[in-house]
């Protein structure tokens, strides 16, 4: 059962990733990235990380990809020119990618002591705590400071995004139409 599920969702994952590379339209790339992330969430679930599976769907497939599709549609991004990358990418990049993949695969396949994943694993540990309880216990005691620092980071990111995406010098609030019109003529 576990094996069948693994093959199905690993296949979805790889198909989505390859489709992301092959498609020339950004919106189809974004949709195939959503497929990759959702099937990764199922793989997390099989590895006993329930909280991360839900967070993957809500944060990645939900929030981040909505942002991506929103920007693709906002900028009206069309079909990209199909090239095979720059000369540096061809001569150095692809052999390097193949070499990295070969090295990682060799190391993984030769590694001793890697176990196997069972579907029943991970729901509770030896003390009978669920995954979410363990996560919360560590996150809110030992790692409380990094957790709070992350929230400050996100606050700064929100402010930075607003500052970067707004027109320079002018804050567009309320009087949107007149402002935009004058700016457009000003740019031309």
């Amino acid at each position: 059962m576990h094996l069948i599920l693994f093959f199905i969702f690993a296949g979805f994952c790889l198909a989505g990733a390859v489709n992301l590379l092959l498609q020339s339209h950004p919106i189809t790339s974004a949709l195939s990235l959503i497929v990759v992330m959702t099937s990764l969430a199922v793989l997390y679930l099989m590895l006993g990380a329930e909280f991360l599976a839900i967070a993957q769907i809500i944060v990645y497939a939900g929030a981040i990809m909505v942002l991506f599709t929103f920007v693709v549609m906002l900028l009206n991004a069309g079909r990209e020119a199909r090239t095979m990358g720059s000369r540096v990418a061809r001569t150095v990049g692809f052999p390097a990618v193949v070499a990295i993949l070969a090295v990682i695969a060799t190391v993984i396949l030769q590694a001793q002591g890697l176990g196997a994943a069972r579907l029943s694993d991970g729901l509770t540990d030896v003390k009978g705590q669920t995954n979410l309880e363990q996560l919360g216990a560590v996150l809110f005691t030992k790692l409380l400071l990094p957790f709070e620092v992350t929230s400050v980071l996100i606050l700064i990111a929100i402010l930075g995004a607003v500052v970067l995406a707004s027109h320079e010098g002018s804050v567009e609030q309320g009087t949107g139409n007149r402002d935009q019109g004058s700016e457009r003529t000003g740019e031309e």
């Binding site: 790889l14 990733a17 992330m37 990764l40 909280f51 396949l109 992350t150 996100i154 700064i156």
Partner: protein
Amino acid sequence: MSAFLQQDVPLSWYLLLSAVLFSLGVVGFLIKRNLITVFMSIELMLNGVNLSFVTFAQQWHAVKGQIFVFFVMMVAAAEAAVGLAIIIAVFRARATLDVDRIDRMKL
């Protein structure tokens, strides 16, 4: 056949999947010519690494690997917000998303 299907999945297969996802992200970063798609390839790489974190957390029964993935997700959310804002600003200044034509830092 049914005995084969009943067996457990070796964790090395999960690790191989994550390595392949990471490499596909690198390839996408190299061959894609649209700024937004290049950014999506970076997200693909992050996801590949996250999968190996979760796999090792399962292997060692340590919850810290999962916490690391949680932090990666939070930072990736912040990074996506700032990165997409930068993309909007670049598009406003250059009216293009082609990375070959965005080759100067100066506006």
